[in-house]
């Protein structure tokens, strides 16, 4: 209904000026650029999940297949690419965890959990899970 209202008014008031939005509207402010970069990290998340599946598949194909994958992973260009991948994933993690306290209002009875506690709690979970992952991969013989 709001759209119809706007359109009918513009029909009878054709001189109201409406600024056209440029195709690259997001380059005009630092916060929009940061937003766009944050959104594009989803591509890298999908890639990481995909590569994990590739590695599982290679493990199923035999030691030789897996060794070929490890060989590819050791290529300097590939390692560099994966360092970039890590940077984007870290950007995703930090922006995600920093926004969580704003979105998540937790209550224990009548007590509202302060934003700072939610923030610290999530980062603590991230740290613990990361250590578990490192321990799992490094510890397995």
């Amino acid at each position: 209904m709001a759209k119809a209202l706007n359109a009918s008014y513009r029909r009878y008031h054709p001189k109201w000026h409406r600024e056209r939005v440029p195709i690259f509207w997001w380059v005009r402010s630092a916060s929009y650029i940061k937003f766009m970069c944050r959104e594009l990290t989803s591509l890298f998340v999908a890639y990481a999940a995909g590569l994990l599946l590739v590695q599982v598949w290679a493990l199923g194909q035999g030691a030789a297949a897996h060794a070929r994958l490890l060989n590819w992973l050791s290529h300097p260009a590939v390692v560099t690419g994966h360092v970039v991948l890590l940077a984007t994933l870290l950007f995703h993690t930090v922006t995600w965890l920093n926004l969580t306290p704003q979105a998540l209002v937790l209550r224990l009875g009548r007590w509202r959990v302060p934003k700072a506690v939610v923030w610290v709690g999530h980062y603590a979970v991230w740290l613990v899970l990361s250590l578990v992952i490192v321990w799992l991969f490094v510890g397995v013989a």
Binding site: V21, I23, W26, M36, E39, L40, S42, L43, V45, A46, A48, A49, G50, L51, L52, L53, Q55, V56, W57, L59, G60, A63, H66, A67, L70, L73, S74, V78, V79, H82, V83, L85, L86, L89, L90, H92, T93, W96, L97, V125, W126, L129, S130, L131, I133, V134, L136, F137, V138, V140, A141
Partner: protein
């Protein structure tokens, strides 16, 4: 009043995927694809990795990570496409495309994680 949108389930998967990816992917990528190839840590053996990834819990975890990550991408990318490139007239098409790709990738993930022996 029109029926309530079905967005909640898509948003739930986007959120779940975002959280799981945020918490689990950085460490995984650092160990498996940076530290190990660069020799910073001793490479886990072939058998060792198999015992981790192909354990039932490992398979389930990987399936959850994969599915949620793909749907996280689909939902986020869909909005990036039509807000970023102002493709509102293609909004239905973009939604169908992104979620179809996510479903296809999920099927592949399921296939890989069930059949790998």
């Amino acid at each position: 009043m029109a029926r309530r949108s079905r967005e909640p389930v898509l948003w739930a998967m986007f959120s779940g995927g975002g959280m799981i990816a945020a918490l689990l992917l950085p460490a995984t990528v650092t160990v498996l694809w940076i530290a190990v190839p660069l020799g910073w840590v001793e490479a886990p053996s072939y058998e060792g990795l198999r015992s981790l990834f192909l354990h039932p819990i490992g398979r389930l975890t990987l399936f959850a990570v994969a599915t949620l990550s793909f749907f996280h991408w689909a939902h986020r990318f869909r909005y990036t496409m039509y807000d970023g490139l102002q493709l509102y007239h293609l909004s239905q098409l973009i939604a169908i495309l992104t979620y179809s790709i996510a479903i296809a990738l999920t099927v592949v993930a399921g296939f890989v994680l069930v059949t790998t022996g």
